[in-house]
């Protein structure tokens, strides 16, 4: 071997390549949707409902038409015949109620922010000015804000059909047997507050209709799905519709949607005959980008005295908001399979009721159903450990699936292909200095230190890499879970990769280049990745659910394999040897035993371009496509440990150290994997400590700006210690598992467990998220006021719809005696069902 080939790393996979995407992003040469300017382009502004629930009795846009620069103004009635209904692609039960959801309201508004009219003007200032000249008369109707009372007979109705959308049940094993005579039963109620995904790039769309052709640029995660859905909703023929996702500034699920404004941009452009742009303001976005979470979780566990889990029963109320959007009803159900997490048990029962309210619809937000499930199981495992007097990591280990037991079919019916919970936990404990921190914690307790130390544990797994199409079909999901890729071998030896994944920060241009460079033996720099435009990349299922590498990346790998198979036929002819004697390694085809001398894949590509001397019957083309449909989900796992310092005088919580050891199987690019974990941690920690979308008693969102909705800054977050164990997936040829959501799924319970662990000796058993200084302080005050031996199980100051305020200290934390009734959300120990 020459020195040059020795210097080349053996493999591209696993290499910390710096990203190809960065050059345009660090220099400001980006192509965000809001940057797009087209000849004659007009600007759209929407007038939005100021009421949570009302009949629209009159809309008059005539005065707005007199405003300077205004070209047109429309109300819902103007679109009534063409706007269709925004789609819900996941009808989870046969009898689910899916109300009509017009992109622009015509008769009734059901949440604050719903569009009721719009102005089309020469520039964005003129459009905004003219909104004030639109007259709308409303007849107010009562809002519906509390999913716990929305199903009562006496509740006002969001829709004529009532406030219940669906009830979905699921289970495995004999749940009655598991709870019958169980020595230990514990029940908890947890609140998953409503969150606002808050991608940094606000939504923006540009719609352009010219003749029969329609083009939509949108800040979307899902150009392919969007194209199909827009065609179905508007009747615009799919082959006349092109959807482009240019540079997209984050999504986290929020841009996995078919938005009213996307539909309307196309229709408005058709009406005015010019391209139109709409870019949301942040407050508009907080009101009208779908929200996440918003559930009440009732979880009950049955166990033996030695801590062995017998069964788990889960009953969810999930706030759908006012309508069902793209995957709204399916989100809480994704958690159904994850409540049992990494643990073995005899039975699981799950029930979810989807409830309508007069609030912004909920839908996918990073983790989508799985963070909620992981939170509940990891929180109750800590409580169970305490009640049984078992060390919390020890309790987990007694129940988790051992590494030698994989593949393992869980009580939820999923087959986890691989994992090593022992290894990840051992590594995390060492990095965290777990035993030393436990000693310090004891010392602080004993000395009544005003700063108490909490140690939080989260041992998690999750199901991602959405998903086997057959499984999605069995869950009534409206699409498949495959992904598509094409490899185009250019005559000069360069390679184009067309992917159906649609990156918006994930680094696919870099990672896919690594996969292709590794597989085809071409230089990393010679690979170009194309995506995000249905005319360039005609087939795809897009990016969400930590699916891009495990499905899209594997499709790229599969397309490379097909290129090699095709190229081998031509190499065989060029090298004058039978195909079975041709080997391919490091980008070169050679005859076995010929010491690697042969034809490079670039030479083969050029040979197909000239096509002068190809064997008879061989197509002059080695380009290849692959569509990969996974056999199984991907199951990353890990152990997260969080140390918090809790100021018992002010209630302030400070994360002192955070260790995340994740196992995402084989790693293509460790820089990107670490980055995904970091960002995931930030969002999960933010749910635990900072973020909450709050509606007031009239259904007004009060957290409409970033001054009110508290995204963490650098000063609010700690340094993260991240490490990995590597247990390859056995279900795909790359051995990779998803990583995009893992940090978010794992971290929320780690933080809250840490806070409760630090305050458990005060009798505190739960604090509702976000654990703000006020809530922590109130829990401590309630504990002190109630005296020793009392258990503080939550913050009932958080009322029905997640609002906080006007509470007395007494309300702030329910204090129950240790014999509190289990149905009351308190603790119950030793009571058989």
């Amino acid at each position: 071997m020459t020195a040059e080939t020795q210097a080349k790393p053996a493999t591209e996979l696993g290499r910390a390549r710096l990203r190809k995407e960065d050059a345009r992003l660090v220099t400001g040469k980006t192509n965000w949707t809001d940057n797009i300017v087209l000849p004659g382009m007009l600007h759209v502004a929407f007038l939005r409902s100021p009421l949570a629930h009302a009949k629209i009795t009159r809309v008059d846009v005539s005065r707005a038409l007199q405003s300077p620069g205004v070209i047109a103004a429309f109300s819902g009635a103007d679109f009534a015949d063409e706007q269709g209904s925004l789609p819900c692609a996941w009808p989870v039960t046969p009898d689910i109620v899916i109300p009509a959801h017009p992109p622009m309201a015509t008769d009734e508004v059901r949440y604050v922010g719903e569009a009721v009219a719009c102005v089309v003007a020469r520039d964005r200032y003129e459009a905004a000015d003219a909104l004030e000249a639109i007259d709308v008369d409303y007849e107010p109707l009562p809002p519906v804000l509390d999913i716990r009372t929305a199903l009562d007979e006496s509740s006002p109705k969001v829709h004529e059909a009532g406030n219940k959308s669906f009830e979905w049940v699921f289970g495995g094993g004999d749940i009655d047997a598991a709870f019958r005579d169980a020595p230990v039963v514990l029940e908890r109620n947890y609140r998953q507050q409503r969150l606002i995904p808050s991608a940094m790039e606000p939504r923006a769309v540009v719609g352009w209709n010219e003749g029969e052709e329609f083009t939509l640029w949108s800040a979307t995660q899902i150009p392919h799905v969007l194209r199909v859905m827009l065609a179905l909703v508007t009747g615009i023929p799919e082959h006349n519709l092109r959807v482009i996702a240019p540079d997209v500034g984050g999504g986290f699920g929020s841009k996995l949607q078919v938005c009213a404004e996307e539909v309307l941009a196309l229709l408005i452009s058709r009406k005015v005959g010019r391209p139109v742009k709409w870019t949301e303001s942040r407050s508009e976005g907080n009101l009208t980008v779908h929200h996440g979470r918003d559930q009440w979780q009732r979880i009950k566990v049955a166990a033996d005295r030695d801590g062995r889990l017998r069964g788990l029963s889960v009953d969810l109320l999930a706030d759908m908001g006012a309508y069902l959007m793209l995957v709204t009803p399916g989100v809480p159900l994704l958690g159904a399979f994850m409540y049992n997490s990494i643990y073995k048990m005899d039975a699981l029962s799950f029930r979810c009721t989807g409830v309508f309210t007069t609030k912004m619809p909920t839908d996918a937000y990073r983790g989508a159903g799985r963070p909620e499930a992981t939170f509940a199981i990891e929180r109750i495992m800590d409580d169970l450990a305490f009640e049984l007097g078992i060390e919390p990591l020890e309790l987990r280990e007694r129940n988790w699936i051992k590494h030698e037991e994989f593949p393992y079919t869980t009580i939820a019916g999923l087959t986890y292909d691989s994992g090593n919970y022992e290894a990840a936990t051992a590594k995390a404990k060492e990095l965290f200095r777990y035993d030393e921190l436990r000693v310090e914690q004891e010392q602080r307790r004993d000395s009544h230190d005003p700063i108490q130390l909490g140690i939080g544990i989260s041992t998690y797994t999750e199901m991602c890499g959405l998903a086997p199409s057959r499984v999605l079909g069995s869950l009534a999901y409206g699409a498949g879970g495959w992904e598509h890729a094409s490899i185009r071998m250019l005559p000069t030896g360069k390679v184009e990769v067309v992917t159906g994944s649609s990156a918006h920060g994930q680094g696919h241009e870099t990672a896919w280049s690594q996969i292709v460079a590794d597989k085809l033996g071409v230089p990393f720099e010679d690979v170009r990745v194309l995506h995000g435009d249905t005319q360039v990349s005609p087939k795809g299922m897009d990016t969400y659910g930590s699916r891009s590498l495990t499905v899209g990346g594997v499709a790229v790998h599969g397309a490379c394999e097909k290129v090699i198979v095709k190229a081998k036929v031509i190499a065989s002819a060029m090298l004058e040897a039978p195909p079975e004697e041709i080997e391919f390694a490091a980008g070169t085809f050679s005859v076995r035993g010929s010491d690697g001398v042969g034809k490079t894949i670039q030479e083969i590509a050029l040979a197909t371009f000239a096509a002068h001397a190809l064997p008879d019957g061989v197509e002059p083309n080695i380009d290849s496509d692959a569509t990969y449909d996974p056999d199984n989900f991907s199951y990353p796992h890990g152990t997260h440990l969080c140390a918090t310092e809790i100021d018992t005088e002010t209630g302030e919580v400070k994360i002192r150290s955070y260790v995340a050891v994740d196992d995402v199987g084989n790693v293509v690019n460790p820089l990107i994997v670490d980055g995904q974990v970091h960002g995931g941690l930030a969002q999960g920690i933010a749910q635990a400590l900072f973020e909450e979308a709050i509606y007031d008693d009239e259904g007004n969102l009060t957290t409409t700006t970033m001054a009110d909705y508290l995204l963490p800054s650098a000063a609010d977050l700690p340094h993260f210690t991240t490490d990995r164990t590597q247990t390859p997936a056995t279900t795909n040829p790359l051995g990779v598992k998803g990583v995009g959501e893992a940090g978010t799924i794992a971290s929320t319970p780690a933080v809250v467990n840490s806070i409760i662990d630090g305050l458990r000796h005060y009798g505190i058993r739960d604090i509702v998220m976000p654990c703000t200084p006020e809530r922590v302080w109130r829990a401590l005050k309630a504990a002190r006021d109630s005296g020793p031996g009392t258990q503080i199980i939550g913050d009932s100051a958080t009322d029905s719809h997640g609002t906080v305020g006007h509470v007395s200290g007494e309300d702030a934390a329910q204090a129950h005696g240790s014999d509190a009734a289990p149905s009351n959300g308190g603790q119950a120990l030793g009571g058989a069902e």
Binding site: V26, G28, G249, G250, F252, G679, A682, T705, M706, H719
Partner: protein, 156 residues
Amino acid sequence: MTRITVKVDGVSYEDDVEPRLLLVHYLRERVGKTGTPIGCDTSNCGACTVHLDGVSVKSCSVLAVQADGSEVTTIEGLANGEWHPLQQAFHSEHALQCGYCTPGMIMAAADLLRENPDPSDQEIREGLEGNLCRCTGYENIVRAVRRAAETGVTSA
């Protein structure tokens, strides 16, 4: 309309603007400097940070008329032939994912290093408190700013 004279990334412009026109809209829509994005409209996120006469400002909270007679540097004018050390450091440390906050983050970091050429990690975190990132958890942003400080960065 008010006439203003502004130098943006080294080029002088003279324009008639509405007094209410925000500097960020002036930069993006009149001068064509779309490298500076808008994230929140309320000066919380810092995505629109630029330098006004060498000091970082959030251009969504400055009127174009306030920039009259001033010099504005955007992310597009930061590099001088080759990348600014902060641009290089953000790339090297993988301090960006979607990249939407990156122009503002880099411009704010440049101002931070101008004031404090050798900040501690905690000083970096506090110095960038006015710039929000939703992707990175800030871990690698802190590293990038430290790397740029170590490699020596002069005021932009």
